[in-house]
Amino acid sequence: MIWNEPKECMSRDERKADQSKKLIDVVKNVYHNVPFYRKKMQETGLEPGDVKNIEDIEKLPFTTKNDLRENYPFGLFAVPKSEIVRVHASSGTTGKSIVVGYSRKDIDMFSEVVARAYCCTGVTKEDIVQIAYGYGLFTGGLGMHYGAEKLGATVIPVSGGNTSKQLDLLQDFGSTVLACTPSYAAYLSEAIDEAKIDKKDLKLRIGIFGAEPWSNEMRSKIEAGLNITAYDIYGLSEIIGPGVSCSCEMQDGLHIAEDHFYPEILNTETLKAENPGTIGELVFTTITKEAMPLLRYRTRDLASLNYDACKCGRTNVRMSKIQGRSDDMLIIRGVNVFPSQVESALLEIEEAKPHYMLVVDRVGTMDTLEIQVEIDDRYFSDEMVELNKVRQKIKRKVESILGISVIINLVEHKTIARSEGKAQRVIDKRKI
């Protein structure tokens, strides 16, 4: 079933006209209401009237995560605070978190796009949706919640964690849909086996997983483990939250709600548009948001676009699964980690040299982060106790900055390859 056929199935020409009109409006809006954008446009001599159709989007300035941080907390709002009905924030990795505001209309739109996503995966109002995404500042829980209510399904707002409760609810309430991160789905699948629950007694049929990159292999594993069909949902709080795009029964890309979020794929070096099918950085412009519209937000996620109509009947553009990042950000156990954070932590510890390697792996369903650090000759000790103290000191420092537990391994001097160009700092052994 298609939730909103007129919006999801319009012709490419109609689409272009719709997007052009909305882009013109949003540019006027931010120029007049967001000093940050007015200044950016004035710097390049751009006036709202210069944007006449969707193709003119390439004239517009970019927005980065750093811009959001610098305007913390409410600097990019385009409406008076009285119009803001909700605020979400994403985990602050380096310094301050980033804040996103929603007007009443934005929340309605958020619910609409998530309802479309549910529909895309075959969920109906007859379903019982167990939402095991975290509720709170993170957009996952509440986003999936409002969308399921809009659809008319029965919502179980259990939130993340508390695995034994999750298993009870799956059995007692007969949940038919599970929404959570793919790694938590894999974990639940193992927990079901460990608890010796017969999967035939569960009613689960659909899984909607997102907020983390995952592979098709992992999808097959989760599908077999939970005896469901699994779908990929994509989103980011800067743009709205989950529901920016979602895969359909064809499992051939994620349909973007492009009547609200205009996607571009740009070459990571030149920042010029790539041809459809070519992988590049995914950039979104929110063309209908009221409270905090963003122009050309650089997601740093790598993907490609496919404008062909889908066999499911939808004509909106599809994005590939996320293929990686254009920066060096890692997502470990749902937490964003930048190698530069590790580096700055090490620089504060005199016993360690700033030569390090991050080794990310997945043991069972848990991500592990090992940090190999070269020990400084001056602090090398013949006593094991002293070396362990150094290791503990590094561990505490790094953990306090990253917010996740790490394994510190001291390695020999000069064993970490030196590079004259961009140093290779990360070995990611996870298959995603």
Partner: protein, 129 residues
């Protein structure tokens, strides 16, 4: 007596120890005592060698993480209770041992001990044993 011990940081990877002995052999350095303390990821090799300065230089040149440490080397009779007597004397005089290793051969035993104040330890041993 107080002697120099060579301490080498060794990553736990196949062949690393052999690389070290290769360098010592090529430099004609003899090892008279050694011990390795190991963890999952790395080990600390401690050894007494015929020419510690030459060994230090050679290992540093080969990028090993290496240092020399003063340790106390003492001899005691190779009979039951002899080690106990030695340690009792040290303990009674407030001397703590960080680590030790030893061997016995032909009636005498030789002990290598890491002590924070080796000079004081030597004085006590010379006066009491």
């Amino acid at each position: 007596m107080i002697i120099k011990q060579l301490t080498v940081f060794l990553q736990n990877k196949s062949g690393r120890l052999e690389e070290l002995t290769d360098i010592l052999a090529k430099n004609n350095i003899n090892i008279s005592a050694l011990s390795i303390a190991e963890t999952e990821e790395y080990g600390i090799m401690r050894m007494i060698v015929s020419d510690h300065e030459k060994a230090l230089e050679a290992l540093k040149a080969a990028e090993f993480t290496v240092k020399t440490t003063d340790v106390v080397s003492i001899q005691c009779p190779d009979i039951p209770g002899a080690l106990h007597e030695t340690l009792k004397t040290l303990t009674n005089n407030g001397i703590d041992v960080s680590y030790m290793y030893g061997y016995s051969n032909g009636g005498t035993a030789r002990l290598i001990m890491k002590i924070n104040n080796p000079e004081k330890a030597m004085e006590i041993i010379e006066n009491n044993l």
